[in-house]
Symmetry: C2
Amino acid sequence: MKKEENFSEWYNEVVEEAGLTDKRYPVKGMNVWPAYGWKIMRYIDSFIRQELDATGHDEVCFPLLIPETEFKKEKDHIKGFDEEVYWVTHAGLNPLDVQLVIRPTSETSMYPMFALWVRSHGDLPLKVYQIVNTFRYETKQTRAFIRVREIHFFESHTCHVDEADAQRQVEEDFVILEQIMKRLSLPYLLLKRTEWDKFPGAHYTVGIDTYIPSGRSLQLGSIHHYRENFSRPFDIKYEDPDGDQKYVHQTTFGMSERLLGAVVGVHGDDRGLVLPPDIAPVQAIVIPIIAKGNREEITANARQLRDELKDFGIRVQIDESDERPGAKFYKWELKGVPLRLELGGRDIKKGVVSFARRDTGEKGTMLRSNIAKDVEAMLLKISKDMRAKAQQLMDSSVTTIESLDNIPKKWVRFGWCGSEECGQKIEETADIKILGTPYSGEKFHGKCLACGQETDIVVYAARAM
Amino acid sequence: MKKEENFSEWYNEVVEEAGLTDKRYPVKGMNVWPAYGWKIMRYIDSFIRQELDATGHDEVCFPLLIPETEFKKEKDHIKGFDEEVYWVTHAGLNPLDVQLVIRPTSETSMYPMFALWVRSHGDLPLKVYQIVNTFRYETKQTRAFIRVREIHFFESHTCHVDEADAQRQVEEDFVILEQIMKRLSLPYLLLKRTEWDKFPGAHYTVGIDTYIPSGRSLQLGSIHHYRENFSRPFDIKYEDPDGDQKYVHQTTFGMSERLLGAVVGVHGDDRGLVLPPDIAPVQAIVIPIIAKGNREEITANARQLRDELKDFGIRVQIDESDERPGAKFYKWELKGVPLRLELGGRDIKKGVVSFARRDTGEKGTMLRSNIAKDVEAMLLKISKDMRAKAQQLMDSSVTTIESLDNIPKKWVRFGWCGSEECGQKIEETADIKILGTPYSGEKFHGKCLACGQETDIVVYAARAM
């Protein structure tokens, strides 16, 4: 498994060998979540829930199936999903009167209900989210977590009195996002998508993109401002304090199991998975190093160590199997366990525990007497170091270019006059995808790569994964 | 809302007014989980997870869609579900080569994978579970949580070396079940279903039935022993220590959102929901009783009380809205909050907090100085009392009958010779459903209600909800 030589092959191998997914299910792109992968995904979900709950969002759960009539209410929206949805046409032995779409996203299942829920300005803002399965009929080559047909998905949907309040929600989403990404040690850019690439039905879309070491970009999610684009066809109105009926302004924020795909792709190495401590089902693995005649002593000590760490709140396991230490190291490294603790006769004599960090390979010893606090501090440090390293790699992989010749196979950054014609011309000529303009703004002055006109607009572009 | 006068109407009103469900979604039988109902369901899920994890089950997540070819592998199984499944026939604008079934249950999605996962006796027992959405095309009148088309479902699936080990799993499931039902304060009977009523494909089925005060029975879930009925068509084999290939023996255990329906139906009263404390999103509601001139003092005291209870781990809220106390009482009673705490000027002077129990209506005072411990003890007592009351009602609602005339409209118990002919005759004549024979056995001697033959077999029967 060589990540640098063939990223794609490496990725496909790691996700299966580490036990994150099983791709042998008899429908392509619909994969099984085995225990280990599902546990990690559930940790990610728990951080999403924590942040959404803390910002006053209510968790709800809407039906999976959407009547064709509702699905077709917003014209751009349905146009965007026309070729990607699964249709339920029969129930039992009979055809359905109204065919049902399996949700690709939940605007059209939620908004008919929002129209019933929102009555007056007192009902606003309405902030809900759900974590559910969604479906898209991918025709491209599928890839675990990255491009699948059944997608584990988080989506929040909000309604506001006006555009400014919806805009404040978008800003809150950025704060939420940062908290979640910290847990995953993932760097990212917030890039406002071009008009021809925004979400079907959106006023504007901000993409959340991360850098994959193969040189490509991976969209982890997006945040949309809908203005009144959906509230008009779905008739979501409220009575303002003056008694006037107004349409709500809406936003959504969505992310998927791609977060896990990014964790694999960004942090993993030739030995397998490297998990950020916050989402590691096993944060520290204790390996007893047995020598002749000391099995009982070592085992007792190792179990005591395990118990001490467990009581301190660290997710720790002990590997007492009969394999040799080398085989155990290999196994737990593949699974991405952030910290390995070894305990042998010499360690006990010296009053220490030997450790090895999964992310850097660094080895050393910790004092036995202060072990729980030291392990906790080390896990925190690993989390920070992993992010810093990934951030540094992402930052150094962006090249500002001034011509379309010899474009590096990483991320590029260049001037653009802002016209759709020039944008699409650049995309076609260079075979790259414009990700968008930095949401927070970036000082720039240069020339449009297509027409040569002077411009202050800078865009990022990459080959999408 | 009169539960005794018209149970069905009462139930339909309570589930919506208390905020458990919204039935206005434009597909009948596919309901929206609003925040309050979903929170309660998630508490129930968390107890299921806790018990399943503690008994060595791994949580997994399998795809929703099952290829027709897999779905049809076990003949009885598909016969049983033929008229109840939704079919996905198209993706995008094109028909699918292999049509897909939306899972009604997951045997046929899991077992092709089990055939890959199980290789040797060392892989056994295999114990997994998932909590997912499943679908059945109900043609009868739908009812929230009880008979719906999209079902929030828990299912565990296990593989074992032989029939005896699978049997041990069934016994473990009973222990797990009891732990969960304690949390919900629900009594139940374990009744072994008749041959003509067992799960399609099962060797035997044990139904988990509870008594609904309308006189009907409600099946909350079931536990199946499959023997080799599925492992043969799905080819799930292992190599035993002697090198022989053997088929695994399988079991499943499934329960659904009906658990919440039962909580509503069993515990609720004319004032609305009555929630067992373990699944109440708000376990105690603090109502400040404001009089002229003491708003600040009372509010400060009430907040302090709230904080103290919160720190102690009790889910508590304070209602500081401008409504009158009576309106607040009404609202929180409807939502089923187990304990109401009132704090007024007189309470503060006396050093007490006034309380009202939701389940019994009992009122009294607790010493302010020991409030957190007293509230905790009271919640525990409420939980136990609620179960005892429901158990008592269930027990007293079973009548042993000796003839088919004037059958009471509750549960009945009678002798049966064991023949299918007699069983079906009794069901038709009396328009009742035989639930089955007590799994744990019950001493009985009497005559078969149909043929009059002497028998030791006793069965329970009821009108199903």
